[in-house]
Every structure is written in C-alpha cells, then in structure tokens.
C-alpha cells in the first residue's frame, strides 16, 4: 500500500505545456525569419560561422524539446546522438566521397534507428532512471569512438578532418555564407515539420503520455510505440544537427562530444523554455555566446557560469524564455491601452 501512495504523490516529470503555447504567431515567425535571412549579409565571416553554429545547436535543442517538452521523457545523452550524426557525415564524406548534402539524411536515419533502439529499454524507464541511462550513454560515447576497433574509419583519438563545401552553381558567396543559408533552409524545414508533428495525432499522443501515461494508455494510445518514436525523432534531428556541425566545424574528434555537450543542450532547453519550440533558438544563443564571454574572463569558468545561470533560471523564471516572452507581451499590451 505504501508503494502505491508514494507513486501517487510523485511529482510530475515536467509541467504540462498546452499545445497552443508551443509555437509563435505567424507575424512574429516571419519577422524572425527575415532577420535570420538578412543579418549574414552585413557581418564578417567569423560571425556568420557563429550564426551557423547557432542554428545547428538550435536544431539540437529543438530535438530535445520535442522529446522532453513533447513526450515528457528526459535525455542527458543528446551528445551521443549528435556525435553519431557528426561521425556518420564525416565518414561518408571522407571515406566514401559522398556529397555533404546527401550525408545528412543518412546521418538522420542512422540516428533515428539508434535512438529508436535505445528507446526500447528506455520504455521501461521513466524520470530519473531515463536520465541516468542517457547520462551513462553520454559519458560512454567518447570512449566508444576512440575504440581501436573502429580506428580505420573514425581516426581514433585524432578524429577526422572534413572539407568545407563551396557554394554550388557558381553563386558569388563565401563558403561560410553558403553553409549558413544551407543550414537555415534545413532548420526551417525541420522546424515546420516539428510544429506539424506536435499538432498531429502523434503529437497529441506524445502530450497525452507526457501528462499522464496510464491515462493515455487507457485512452488507447500505444505508449510503447510513441515513446520510442519520440526518442527516435529526437535522435534523428540531433543526428542531422551533428552532421551539419561536423561540416561547419570541419573536424570531428571524440572529445568534442562529451557529457558537457549534453549538459549544454539540456541547459539550452531549460533556458529557452521546456516545450516552447521557438525558445530553442534563444537557448542555443545562450549556450553559444555565454561560454565565449565566460572563457574570455577566465579559462574553465563557463561551467560555473552555466551552473549559476541555470539555478537563476530555475528559481526566477522556471519557464525560461517563454515566460520572459509572455511577460514582454503583456507589458506591450498594457502600453498600447
């Protein structure tokens, strides 16, 4: 009897986010899109590169958001999926001389399969157990990549160097700028697909599972299928982000994909607001620019800054950027009246 009581009193995995609160209105979306399209025309190549990374991490955070905000499952193992995607792209490009654009769907598919397979045991786990299993996955991944057995393909500890693609059709564009627009196109595509996914029957099933698993299964939702599916989709998107990351950074190495990357992505999701898809880009900006500033002050400081800010977010604005955006909206509304 005591066990039942405890389970009933258990805190929810995450707070429920209504479906409408997950996206932005059309006007705001178009404004942001215009901004993303125009900014690179006026800045230096290095900043364009950083903006590319911003989009790539935004994709990875978005993937985590679908998993956690959508289906209520945790993952501290996103760096592992990101690494698999990055290595898939890098190996296909360098060993099989494949076109970079073609490697991305393959990276996505492989990661989808990997995530789906990893989601199988994850089905039986919930909450902290899932966080634990994925935490172990993320810490184990660099060692797996360094393994002598795969060294011929992965380059072992040294990693692989990836060549950066030129702009096609003789477009008068630098490599960085081309890659930026290429990434932007993919990001927009995946964002729209994700929004539609969450609005679809599958999305409603995810949210039903998130809010009450047992009730969802009683309503006829195939809990096992949708939980693994959420894992697979999340891993697949992360894999595409990883592949893009490998192309943008021009280098893959095991130590680039440690648990710290997972922590950063998790942080990005919390800062952006769990379950609020547009928040992904806010979270991504946070995890790219904050370490730059922190490392500028002292080497090794970024972990501490991340941690302190994360606590501040938890205590002050538990809903992250979504909450800030809503407060801003209300203020603007008041000013108008």
């Amino acid at each position: 009897m005591s066990a039942v009581q405890e389970a009933a009193a258990e805190a929810p995995a995450i707070e429920a986010v209504p479906k409408r609160a997950m996206t932005l209105g059309i006007g705001t979306s178009l404004a942001i899109l215009a901004l993303l399209l125009l900014v690179p025309l006026f800045v230096k190549n290095f900043i364009i590169f950083q903006l590319t990374m911003l989009l790539i991490y935004a994709l990875a955070v978005l993937a985590l958001n679908i998993l956690t905000g959508g289906s209520g499952q945790f993952s501290l193992g996103q760096s592992a999926f990101y690494a698999v995607g990055a290595y898939t792209s890098a190996i296909l490009m360098e060993h099989a001389n494949m076109n970079y654009a073609l490697t991305l769907p393959i990276a996505g598919l492989i990661c989808f399969a990997f995530g789906f397979a990893f989601g199988q045991p994850a089905l039986r786990l919930s909450g902290v157990y899932l966080a634990l299993a994925t935490f172990a996955l993320a810490t184990a991944m660099p060692q797996l990549l360094k393994l002598g057995f795969f060294e011929h393909w992965t380059g072992g500890v040294q990693g692989l160097v990836v060549t950066k693609p030129d702009a096609p059709f003789g477009l008068p564009m630098s490599q960085d700028m081309w890659l930026y627009y290429f990434t932007l196109a993919i990001t927009i595509g995946i964002y729209i697909a994700s929004v539609n996914l969450l609005r679809s029957r599958s999305g409603r099933a995810f949210m039903a599972i998130r809010d009450n698993e047992i009730a969802a299964s009683a309503m006829g939702v195939d809990v096992a299928l949708y939980k693994t599916l959420a894992f697979g989709v999340s891993a697949g998107i992360t894999g595409v982000a990883g592949g893009l990351g490998a192309i943008a950074v021009q280098f893959v190495a095991p130590d680039g994909y440690t648990i710290l990357l997972s922590i950063a992505l998790f942080l990005g999701m919390v800062v952006g607001g769990v379950g609020w898809l547009p928040g992904s880009i806010v979270g991504s900006a946070f995890i790219i620019f904050v370490p730059n500033i922190a490392e500028g002050i002292s080497k090794g400081l970024s972990g501490a800054v991340f941690g302190v800010l994360l606590f501040l977010v938890i205590f002050l604005v538990p809903h992250g950027a979504r909450q800030v955006a809503m407060i801003a909206q209300q203020l603007i509304g008041k000013l108008r009246n």
């Binding site: 258990e10 039986r124 966080a131 935490f135 172990a136 047992i214 994360l310």
Partner: protein
Amino acid sequence: MELFTNQVLAGIATGAIYACMALAVVMIYQAIDHLNFAQGEMAMFSTFISWQMMQWGVPYWGAFILTLALSFAGGIVIERLLFKPLAKAPILTNVAGFIALYGIINSFAGLIWDFTIKQYPTPFGSSPFLGSQLISTHQAGMIGVTVLLLIGLYLFFQFTRIGLAMRAAAALPESARLVGINTSWMIALGWGMAAAIGSIAGMLIAPVVFLEPNMMLGVLIYGFAAAVLGGLTSPLGAVVGGFLVGVFENLAGTYIPVVGNELKLPIALALIITVLVVKPAGLFGRPIVKRV
C-alpha cells in the same frame, strides 16, 4: 588461478569505493527521490580540500577528519540553500539543478586548483599487504576503511534514535511527521552524510586515479551502476552492488579480450541498461507500483 584471485581482490578494493559512491547516491535518493548527478563532483571537491590541507602541512588523518566534517556541513548547506526550495518542483527542474551543481563544482575546482593531474598521498603505502603478492596495502586499506564505515553506519541506523528517525522519514514521511520527527532536517542530515561518505570514497580512490577535476566521472558512473544493480531503494543493495560491480569490472577487463581500460565506461553503461531492462528494481529494491 593467482591472476584470478588477484583480480577478484583488486575488484573488491575498487568495489569498496563504488559501494561508498552508491551508498551516497542511495542516501540522497531515499531522502528526496532524485539521483544526485553531482555526487562525484562533490566528492572530488572534498578530495581537493583535503589535498590543500595537506599542502598546508596538516597530517593525513587530521586532513581526513577535517574534510569529513567540512563535507558534512557542505552537504547540509547545499540542501538547505539549493534543493529544499525545489522539493515540490517537477523532476526536470531537479535534474537541471543537479546538472547545474555539477557544472559549478567542476568548474570551480578547475579554477582554484587547475586542471593538471596531481599526485595524492596514501597513508597505507603501496607495498604488498602482509607479504602477499595478491593485494597492496593501499587496496587493503580501502577495503578496511569501507568496512569500518559500513559497520558504523549500520550501528548508527539500527541503534540510535536519530538513525531510526532518518529511516522513518525516508520510509513514510507523512507518518514520521505525525510522530514528531522533523523530516525536513532528516533530509538535510541525509545530504550531509552522503557528502561525507562520498568524500571518503574520493580520498581513498584519489591515489589510484590521481587528483584532477574530472577524476570522479568514471567512479560516479560505476557508483550509479552499483546503486541500480542493488536497487535504488536499498542501502544494503548499494553496498553489495558496489562490490559486485567492482569485481565484474576487473574480471571483464582481464578476461574479455576487446575490453581493456578503454572500454570501462561502456561496460558500466551496458551494465546499467541491462539491469534496468531485466530487473528495474535491482537485486534488493522494492518494485514501484503506479496508478493514475
């Protein structure tokens, strides 16, 4: 056969450390139903504090005891300041809190003491134990200290009022409050003890893995594996799991050809997932019943 005995004994020695970590994890899990992902970093930070004291000329055992006291206080402070306000928050918020703590401690240790690898002294020496080639004195010391600790904890929980109160608070918080137990402080006490136990694990393993800010990551993963194997709801299970995992790790490293040092973490991962899939409650844990 000698190699086998040797590896089993070495496994028991590292298993003692895993048992401590697992015990620390389970104590916090019992108290607040969350896994402390920062447990390893807390232990690492304690170990650095003891190292710093020794640099200032405090003798080993003096530093050991002082570090225990400081870690205990530190654990309580962390609970009071950071995690008590999160008691009713969703799981996600708590996981985020632990991750944040991990980042903060890891980063600060690197800032204060640098990321270079340091030697850490052992009070036991590293000569063969009692003239036997099977085990070194440090390994014997690791086992000895852990066994003393476990006996002490057992006596504490079985025969003192406060130990009984802590068990009551973990088992049925509501009823414990009704009979006048201050459950909130029992949780803080659990945190303090977990921090102190973790610091013992850190100080004992430091001569083996060397002192640096990331030294406890592998140990923590094995501690988790041990806790999961024994069952997260059972302190006894955590200890048994720790020794089993230690022995398993050493034997796998010796007898399975592909598995060397480079596969230590993937083995722990495989172990965790296998246990969670086959027997989620662990060897000694009680299964959780769910309802709407």
